[in-house]
Amino acid sequence: MRAALTISGNHAVLTRANPLAKFGGVFLITLVLALSIDWMSASVALACELLLFPLAGLTFTLLWQRGWPLIIAAAVGGWSTSILAPDSGKILLDVGLWSMSEGSLELGLGFLLRGLAIALPAVLLMSCTDPTDLADALAQKARLPHRFVLGTLAAMRLVGLMAEEWQTIGMARRARGVGSRGTPWQRMRATLGQSFGLLVQAIRRATRLAVTMEARGFGGASRTWARESTYSRLDIWVLLGGAAIAAGAVIAAVWAGTWNMVWLERS
């Protein structure tokens, strides 16, 4: 988990773009995909996203390591939609609560692809964006209150430590006779106890960290920034790229006749 927060070693071109521009590009794609559930717009977007991988310094091995839960989640989403969406066309399966028709299956498939096409750009975004740069951009460019942005950034730095501490507390509790093995009920109780232990440490640490920050003069109304968050020509290309993928997905879907606005329910 500690590794999940750092992009050190990644020198791909997109790491140099301003986080806000990257976020804008991803947002455009997400918005368009959200408007329709159809396999065409989702596949087009998905294909373009996969092509962008090298620009973000991502490889398929890395994606599989970090992203397999997303793929499973998308599959589950597709499944649940195909059995629960209102039926249309030929009924393919009908067992009690479950029913799957041609229409709902198509919807489910579109849903699966759409889920992936929405999840991927976020993975892409975060794999080439350092949280520190994101915070700089949010505070300097988006003008969010710097106390909240930097306070959060400092707390986020402790996530790796918290994950390590979680493991240590688990062991320490086993050494007291609290098993993390056993029935689901016992395991849940053990998890709750362990969570409480972690919360106590989290609050202690946060309180001390806040003292450190305040003692370094943090908390005033104004401050200077050692590093300026800037926009460059690259950011225009990032935004244009996002817009192009979004437009491409819509045009392809309309052309293929699969465009299917979510609010216009099919009956």
Binding site: T6, T168, G177, V211
Partner: protein
């Protein structure tokens, strides 16, 4: 115009007149009736028993004591924090002089704010609205002063050692150009090498800037030669002043020696008296029943060719890749009534090895095996034992006592193990008595003092009556009193037949327990498997100069 001849630093003066502070929700003030003058450029060591308000004073000087208006949003509360008298830096309230004082606390993890080295040093200067170019000049200078200039500015701060983190914190403070440097037990969490690293950096920076220093620390010998004044505080009251003694280091240490020793301060040249180890089952064991079932020196637990790592196997797709071990090949034996002490530099995998031996981490290679005398039918591999089987055989005391608290009350905490096992509750009273916890039975474990927490965590593990006791840095950060108590108690346990395995940096402690020392050397991660660790029983009868 202020004099800028010391790199832009003008040393600060501190004045306290009848100053007192009561924390929110407390009935008694933490500091009361403090009168004090610290002149610009003075270097002061603050001593005193716990509860004398040393940390509170430092926090107040740093301007970070919660202001009394921070309350509930409702009407002002009688329970809110309360300040009396005056405490001033250069004649002004510390809160209005942010950046005039810089504070370093004990826990290195929370002394780092940001994840890149350069950013972290710049943080304070940014907050003081220093212009950008000037910030980077200061960052380079500060990193140079603390000896971290060889690292790149984007070096991840999480990759630093404890001592380096504290030096980084010092750099962050220096970049603010403070006139007053406040250190609150800055080396309590560090290994011996880290302690000296930080102490020397502080010394160099003070020589360069001439800033005023106030340091709180139990281990006097570390700071004695660096300071020119020692102030001993006591819990103040209406009749007694907060400052007990104040003067030159040698003079104070001579005058107040007995009082400081009684307060648990590590006075130079003084090693607390501890119980001597006697023969197995010797006559002077109080209260502890001798383990009749075990012969002295009976082998209980053995590690053979053990490779250890805290990391779990990584999953790459469907494949599972075992982690790279920190130690590739350890062999050790644990015997009844004998001590095994594991030493070595930080990062050498001492704790990981101990926890693997204790059945809490699965071995990466090799094996840990329990003999029949220990396993009593539970199987050979301690990691596979159920939690309740484990605690009755091998007890582990973690470095941070709070990690092991499982209830909200001291008595429940002690009864937890015996209740789960269904026997042994009669031992609880005995342990309460022996570890001086009787008066605290109803307290919430988290609210105890550091020494009390340590004693409780040892007692809770022993309540399950294990034959092997594993302790991870048991004496870390403890005052001399708790230290002596713990060392005596463990030597008694050893004489009664329990095997004691401890991970420690503390040579004096190793000496008191005797037995075998297993020294693990740092293994470069780049060169795995470079052969067995420096293993082998080495007598600890002649320890190197012990300087607790």
């Amino acid at each position: 115009m202020p004099a800028h001849h010391h790199g832009g630093v003008r040393p600060a003066a501190v004045t306290a007149r009848g100053w007192g502070w009561r924390h929110a929700g407390r009935s008694k003030p933490a500091v009361n009736a403090l009168d004090l003058d610290i002149h610009p450029g003075e270097r002061v060591l603050l001593l005193g028993p716990s509860g004398a308000g040393k940390s509170t004073l430092l926090h107040a000087l740093a301007g970070v004591l919660g202001d009394s208006t921070a309350g509930d949003g409702g009407p002002a509360d009688s329970d809110d924090a309360d300040e009396s008298g005056s405490l001033l830096i250069d004649g002004e309230a510390p809160r209005d002089r942010r950046g005039r004082a810089g504070l370093m606390q004990q826990d290195p993890e929370t002394q780092v704010v940001l994840s890149r080295l350069g950013d972290d040093v710049a943080f304070g200067a940014e907050n003081l609205s220093v212009p950008r170019d000037e910030i980077w000049t200061r960052v380079h200078e500060a990193l140079d002063d603390v000896g971290l200039a060889h690292l790149p500015l984007d070096h991840p701060t999480s990759a630093l050692s404890g001592g380096q983190k504290q030096r980084l914190a010092l750099a962050g403070i220096l970049a603010m150009r403070p006139g007053l440097i406040l250190l609150d037990e800055p080396t309590a969490n560090l290994d011996p090498a880290g302690v000296l690293e930080v102490r020397d950096s502080v010394g160099r920076c003070l020589d360069k800037t001439g800033a005023t220093l106030v340091v709180v620390e139990h281990r006097v010998s570390v700071w004695k030669d660096l300071v020119d004044r020692i102030i001993v505080l006591q819990p103040g009251s209406g009749t007694q002043p907060a400052v007990l003694i104040d003067g030159a280091p040698d003079q104070v240490l001579e005058q107040a020696r007995e009082m400081l020793i009684a307060a648990g301060v590590w006075v130079p040249g003084y090693v607390p008296a501890t119980r001597r180890r006697s023969l197995f089952g010797g006559p002077d064991i109080e209260n502890l029943p001798v383990r009749q079932e075990l012969a002295p020196g009976q082998l209980l637990l053995a590690a053979e060719g053990l490779a250890v790592s805290r990391e779990r196997p990584r999953r790459r797709g469907f494949k599972s890749i075992p982690p790279l071990p920190i130690q590739p090949d350890i062999t050790a034996q644990v015997r009844a009534g004998e001590a095994l002490t594991i030493t070595g530099p930080n990062g050498s995998g001492k704790s990981t090895f101990a926890l693997t031996l204790a059945g809490l981490i699965p071995p990466v290679g090799g094996k840990v095996s329990a003999t029949v005398e220990l396993s009593r039918g539970a199987g050979i591999d301690p990691y596979k034992w159920k939690a309740e089987q484990l605690i009755a055989r091998i007890g582990t005391v973690f470095q941070e006592p709070e990690h092991q608290f499982v209830t909200g009350r001291v008595l429940d905490e002690l009864q937890f193990g015996p209740r789960h096992l269904g026997h042994g509750e009669e031992r609880v009273d005995e342990l309460l008595e022996r570890l001086r916890l009787t008066g605290l039975v109803d307290a919430n474990p988290y609210t105890l003092s550091g020494g009390e927490k340590r004693r409780l965590s040892v007692a809770t593990v022993l309540a399950a009556h294990p034959q092997v006791l594993v302790l991870d840095e048991p004496t870390f950060g403890q005052d001399a009193n708790t230290w002596a108590e713990l060392a005596s108690f463990l030597s008694e346990l050893l004489d009664a037949g329990t095997a004691v395995v401890s991970v420690t940096h503390d040579q004096e402690f190793t000496h008191v327990l005797g037995g075998t020392e297993l020294r693990l050397d740092a293994q470069g991660l780049s060169a795995p498997g470079v052969g067995p660790a420096g293993v082998g029983p080495s007598g600890v009868d002649a320890p190197e100069a012990a300087t607790p």
